[in-house]
């Protein structure tokens, strides 16, 4: 590199205007400044450092970025961070117990080999969590389970083992409650 060239002055952040966003994430309330065009997925990942929420398409089809927004599964790539002002968000980082013990859904995914590369996995776990939390008696037929999972793409597993993991999750959750 030519050393006679002066190092360029580089701004620390972009010149976008910024407005405050306050939201609760995995039980903790935070306020940060965000550009109005910053996607919620990028806010969660890059501003808050919760990188378990992944981004697979940025057009709302693949489901990798699924989080829970006010109690329901939602695509964080289809919302701006500023739209989540006041929202309560849960991400994959908030699913396991505080001591690191896997949630029954996570445990079931491991037991059933429901993940390979693991990139889509947080989105699947959040979709399943959202559904199972709001459905006390889930329909465990093959068709019904696949319908629940049909908002998330996986390119590795061919889905069979995720379907099995869904059933196993319900078993483990029932056992934990029983």
């Amino acid at each position: 590199m030519a050393k006679s060239v002066l190092k360029k002055a580089i701004p620390a952040t972009s010149s976008d205007p910024r407005i405050p966003v306050t939201l609760t994430i995995n039980g903790e309330t935070v306020t940060r400044e965000a550009s109005p065009r910053l996607l919620l997925s990028d806010f969660i990942r890059h501003e808050l450092g919760l990188t378990g929420t992944h981004v697979g398409c940025e057009h709302g089809v693949c489901g990798c970025c699924t989080v829970m927004i006010d109690g329901r599964a939602g695509r964080s790539c289809l919302a701006f961070a500023v739209q989540a002002d006041g929202a309560e968000i849960r991400t994959i980082e908030g699913v396991a117990a505080g001591d690191g013990t896997l949630h029954p859904i996570q445990q079931a995914m491991m037991e059933c080999h429901g993940l390979q590369c693991g990139y889509c996995t947080p989105g699947f776990v959040m979709s399943m969590l959202s559904y199972l939390e709001e459905t006390p008696e889930p329909d465990l037929s093959e068709t019904a389970i696949r319908e629940v999972l049909s908002g998330n793409l996986c390119r590795c597993t061919g889905y069979n083992n995720i379907v099995k993991a869904f059933r196993r999750s319900v078993e483990l959750m029932n056992a934990a409650e029983g």
Partner: protein
């Protein structure tokens, strides 16, 4: 003895972190001060660039640098031709990192912007004005090779990128003498790997130490390091390439270099700041490698009893605008063309055609799905013409279990060696699938359904897969002196195949420890110095056996040291539960103690290490603490270099119901019999096979990289390129056979690509069977979209 771990469905060591969101994919890695890159990409398939005006972008406040071909110094040159071959016209065309003068496909990189964040970088890309002079294009493979067709490259006549003929035996004589011949022409469309994590690269330059660190979602860290060292003219030791967690690869990430893999490190060095490029989904569809498009015209020469004597196949292969990966995909197709069948005489001709589309390099299956579709469709037709059952005709042509090794002289596989099948029980696999599906009962059910106006069908497809290619991989095994944990490394990368678990199983069996106590590292050039890459279903075979060999050596060292420490003979030592035990006794020493005692120390750090200081040597021999020729610690390295590919195989079958009103097809049952030799971990094998079937279903029904007549991509997002969800993939039943490979100590064969290969054939064959009463023409294309089916039905009705 400890329970043997090889062969057990051991749960994966990698899962807890991935399940908790603690994986480290490239964009999850925080690089303080990182800048972000974005690319201006060609809006035209083929055009001359009249001008590039970057002035409006350069003045934007958040922009740090704008690069065109004029700004990248010595990198402004054609990228490496990775796999040269004498049959490639004029040595082969590869692209430049940034276009100079001409563009050759829509999506080709023209300029790179580096800015403070990705949003600003994309703003700047939009502010760069490129003036084009569009040139004519021809995307149809048949027309592209005709005289007068528009050329992708001015100096490549008829767009022929390569032409190659291979022959085994004397097919002309066999055809001349044949009692029956048949010909089919089949076509497969372009598709793409579409890993859930798009490609990504980040780089950090340390000007003080002169070290470049590159995080690259590549399947080939060691090869990328070699390539970067060569392009940047830096010692390999100064470059570290890391592929951390990678969200699927399926071959797309074996291709190097996509332009960003060079330009991002370049910008990091030039700007002295970390730089990240995270490919988005649209870019993955227009700028990353694709595959699959081929047209085969295949003829079979047979006796009336269905014995196939000879095969001729002439196919055209769409290689896209460039051919960096040489003829590999077409070569694999050409050498897989005879499947599991004896067919002694073969002539196969391939013509690789430049098209104004993104380059073609291997995608899971790599030419095999195409070859399987061609031979299996031809065999179905031959059976129909000769009045032989489609299942029976396969039985009559299988290579028998006593005929291995079965060599096809004259057909050179992708490793440059003659096709040489090593083992298999093809007929047994066919029997197993027809028994499991209960074909006889199905035929009764099918007849009853037809009488009731319903359309059920059965189809099957057989395939072989040459796996576990060389040149070599290494394995390194070390027992840590403090913790007794076993460190294992190899030069591969993982995209989710469970290497950390299967390789731990292999090492744990030798060292006698728990699989969870094996700490495995790969995907980092500093973790393991030598190796090749993850591709071609080779990881388990090549690295697995290298690690096994290294672990066998480590076991011998552990036993020798333990015998010494326990004052007994080596024959009286057994290894289990992380300790060395005296057989039939209760005295033992731990792996940590053995590893500590095997490393003569001067200083005692803790209680265990007191026994290892030079003042209290564990060694009982006289002389220096380390005997002549002895190395400290428990540490071994070995390599495995296969003599040639080992051939896995399988057969899939489906029972489908077809609905003529909607042109929809429902898979009522899907079965797979698969044989990849001895299985290290059946749970992981099944996961690989099922994942392959899922991609095969995508390929058979939905996935198509479509272009308009100008070469503009029409399927550059998940709304237009339809990937199957859980609702589209059937619940497949997978049964295993295990015919060991004689070519490696563990008797294993590769499994990564297998599941994808025969699915289109199975679906096509089942569809023909279901729709036979409606008199449709044979199915000759994949994917089999409702449009295509509607066309077949309309044609049948109008006949």
């Amino acid at each position: 003895m400890s329970t043997r771990q090889f062969g057990e469905p051991v749960q994966r060591n990698a899962d807890p972190a991935l399940l908790k969101g603690e994986g480290a994919f490239i964009d999850d890695i925080s690089l303080p001060g990182a800048l972000h890159a974005a690319f201006v990409r060609s809006a035209h398939a083929r055009a001359r660039i009249r001008s590039i005006d970057t002035s409006q972008a350069e003045v934007l406040p958040d922009v740090v640098a704008v690069y065109t071909a004029d700004d990248i110094g010595a990198l402004d040159a054609e990228l490496p031709m990775l796999i040269p071959h004498p049959c490639i016209t004029s040595g082969g065309k590869t692209q430049r990192p940034l276009a100079r003068g001409d563009v050759f496909y829509a999506g080709q990189c023209i300029a790179m912007v580096v800015a403070v964040d990705r949003y600003a970088a994309e703003d700047a890309c939009a502010a760069i004005a490129v003036e084009y002079e569009p040139l004519p294009v021809e995307l149809d493979l048949d027309r592209a090779v005709a005289d007068g067709a528009p050329l992708v490259h001015d100096d490549i006549p008829n767009n022929v990128a390569a032409h190659f003929v291979q022959q085994s035996g004397d097919p002309d004589a066999a055809f001349a003498a044949a009692e029956h011949t048949t010909t089919v022409r089949v076509r497969l469309e372009r598709s793409t790997a579409a890993p859930m994590e798009c490609r990504a690269v980040a780089a950090r330059w340390d000007g003080v130490s002169g070290e470049l660190t590159v995080w690259d979602s590549t399947q080939a860290t060691i090869s990328v390091r070699g390539g970067l060292a060569s392009l940047f003219d830096i010692d390999e030791d100064r470059i570290r390439v890391i592929a951390p967690n990678v969200g699927g690869g399926f071959g797309q990430k074996i291709m190097m270099f996509h332009p960003d893999e060079i330009l991002v490190p370049y910008a990091a060095m030039e700007l002295d700041r970390p730089v990240k490029y995270i490919e988005d989904r649209v870019e993955n569809f227009i700028g990353a490698s694709q595959e699959r498009a081929q047209i085969h015209e295949i003829s079979l020469a047979a006796r009336k009893d269905g014995t196939v004597l000879a095969l001729r196949d002439s196919f055209v292969h769409d290689t896209g605008a460039f051919i960096p990966y040489g003829i590999a995909v077409a070569q694999v197709a050409s050498t897989s063309i005879a499947g599991p069948y004896r067919i002694p005489d073969i002539w196969v001709e391939m013509t690789l055609v430049y098209t104004p589309c993104v380059q073609v390099t291997p995608y899971r299956g790599c030419g095999r799905p195409q070859a399987c579709f061609a031979i299996e469709r031809a065999l179905d037709q031959l059976a129909d013409e000769l009045g032989i059952d489609r299942t029976e005709i396969r039985r009559r042509n299988f290579i028998g279990p006593g005929e291995f090794p079965y060599v096809r002289d004259g057909l050179l596989f992708a490793d440059g060696l003659a096709v040489n099948y090593d083992s298999g029980e093809y007929e047994k696999a066919l029997d197993l699938i027809t028994e499991t599906v209960d074909l006889a009962s199905f035929r009764t059910e099918q007849e009853a359904a037809r009488a009731a106006g319903r359309y059920l069908g059965f189809g099957l497809g057989f395939y072989v897969e040459g796996t576990g290619l060389g040149p070599y991989e290494g394995g390194h095994v070390k027992v840590h002196p403090i913790t007794g944990k076993v460190y294992v490394t190899t030069g591969l990368t993982s995209q989710g195949q469970g290497h950390e678990t299967v390789f731990a199983q292999i090492a744990a069996d030798q060292v006698g420890c728990d699989v969870k106590d094996v700490i495995f590292a790969e995907g980092d050039t500093q973790a393991h110095e030598w190796g090749v890459a993850t591709f071609a279903s080779r990881a388990a075979v090549v690295s697995g056996n290298a690690i096994h060999k290294a672990a066998v050596k480590a076991r011998a060292r552990i036993i020798a040291a333990a015998a010494n420490m326990l004052e007994t003979d080596e024959d009286s030592i057994e290894l289990r539960d992380g300790r060395a035990w005296i057989v039939d006794g209760n005295r033992s020493v731990s792996l940590a103690e053995i590893a500590t005692a095997s490393n003569p120390l001067r200083y005692a750090f803790n209680e265990a290490s007191q026994t290892a200081t030079q003042f209290a040597p564990a060694s009982t021999h006289d002389g220096p603490p380390l005997a002549e020729g002895q190395a400290p610690g428990i540490e071994e390295t070995d390599y495995f270099s296969p003599s040639h590919a080992t051939w896995a195989y399988g057969v899939h079958a489906a029972i489908v119901e077809f609905f003529p009103d909607t042109c929809a097809m429902e898979i009522r049952r899907y079965l797979c019999i698969h044989d990849c030799g001895n299985m290290i971990n059946p749970m992981i094998v099944e996961g690989q096979v099922m994942g392959g079937i899922g991609q095969g279903i995508g390929g058979a029904f939905y996935e198509r990289c479509a272009f308009d007549e100008n070469g503009t991509p029409l399927a550059a997002n998940f709304m237009d390129f339809l990937m199957p969800y859980a609702t589209e993939v059937p619940d497949a039943e997978i049964l295993h056979m295990e015919t060991p490979s004689p070519l490696n100590p563990l008797g294993i064969k590769g499994v990564g690509e297998a599941g994808t290969i025969p699915v289109s054939q199975v679906v096509a064959s089942a569809m023909e069977d279901a729709l036979a009463p409606l008199g449709i023409a044979p199915v000759r294309e994949s994917p089999m979209s409702p449009d295509m089916i509607h066309r077949l039905l309309s044609e049948a009705r109008s006949r």
